[in-house]
Symmetry: C2
Amino acid sequence: MATDGEQKKGKVTAGLLIIGNEILSGRTVDANLPYLATFLGGIGIRLVEARVIPDIEREIVDAVNAMRVKVDYLFTTGGIGPTHDDITAGCIARAFGQKLIRHPEAERRLRAFYPPEKVTEARLKMAETPEGAVLIDNPVSVAPGFIVENVHVLAGVPKIMQAMLDILKPRLVGGALVHSRTLVVFKGEGDMAAVLGAIQGRYPAIDIGSYPFFRMDKPGTSIVFRGDDVPAIDAAFAELEAYCRASGVECREEVLLA
Amino acid sequence: MATDGEQKKGKVTAGLLIIGNEILSGRTVDANLPYLATFLGGIGIRLVEARVIPDIEREIVDAVNAMRVKVDYLFTTGGIGPTHDDITAGCIARAFGQKLIRHPEAERRLRAFYPPEKVTEARLKMAETPEGAVLIDNPVSVAPGFIVENVHVLAGVPKIMQAMLDILKPRLVGGALVHSRTLVVFKGEGDMAAVLGAIQGRYPAIDIGSYPFFRMDKPGTSIVFRGDDVPAIDAAFAELEAYCRASGVECREEVLLA
């Protein structure tokens, strides 16, 4: 088992599978993707793909099997509650060709938490996991998530999902940390494209992203230098800053306060 | 070509491919998925899958080809600006095995909009489309989106993306409209699961979704009845309301004001 603070060399990747009709209908705006992306980035794990799919068994099974082989860690959110539309646990079992069982420790926790008259068949459904799954504690509402191989099954409710991630953190082994610096340039993206392309060509190890904005009707561009090679980030950043100074383009570094 | 207001029978589906490192890093929170979902829902098109992928050619080509055969309409957002990290047009051409050309009408529009010194090679990159693509007007910043078969390539900036959707609207032929009613029940999801499962069993044509919440520390559940069969929605809704009344569970219909 990985210990806290351990790090792999190189890139460690993750995928996110968001399970829920309510996201696809537009009724609920997902908040888990940006949270997970930032959380993982902080421990050297890069979110490289996310999918949003409906509460349909075939879709969930196929997506789990397509994604889990492409990434080091796959996370799922949603579909682990007590109602008929909560089908994630059964789908994970099917994806791995395992039996769905009532996990004894999960059942014990639910029975300890709820008064006897509240221990319904529906609530006990929340104790179901694929055979051999490792539980993820839920300090908010008890019903656990679980892990099968590299698939981490989390709640969809953001508060619970976030608490589960904190519990998981010591088990997640990241690689090189991703660093970034952002230069905000008060000039349109089209005017910056040539110099950005040239700098990107000289620093292929990092990603230079360009994001246009308008502030008080004036065009600007946020230019993000991102990667694990800090000297390359600093050098590329300095080249662009020098270019702006030399050509009279207003710019400043964006400093995000934690 | 479809005319405004035309409708297909049955279900019409859409997918959304969100292209952008900035979403996966957590730097930018996507706003296009909920907007598109709601927009399409209003014209009888159901968003059935969304994916978020990085600015990597192989990833984009594979995702476009995987998704476009599964849905009636595929929409992409992001990657159609003037900089080196804007690679969507070339990827769509590759996905269809077509040549990437400089579209004469797109070039004309860009040259008419920008003063001559602003007509850079970078900005003219925004005139590139797969051969034979149909342009999507951009009333905000001129550089157009485009259509190839059922793939609709939109800007990532929400304001431009939304304007392009308004332009596209007459071309999008929806099916049966999806209706929904929501009953808010001041009772935990686990206590409602049995009755919800029973009602879902009696109304298989509609989807009954169950979404727990906490208000002032009291648990509640939003129960959403969704589908194209309005009498079935109303009947299922009435059954649950009657159950709540009979068992003393506080409930009320959630009415969303437009």
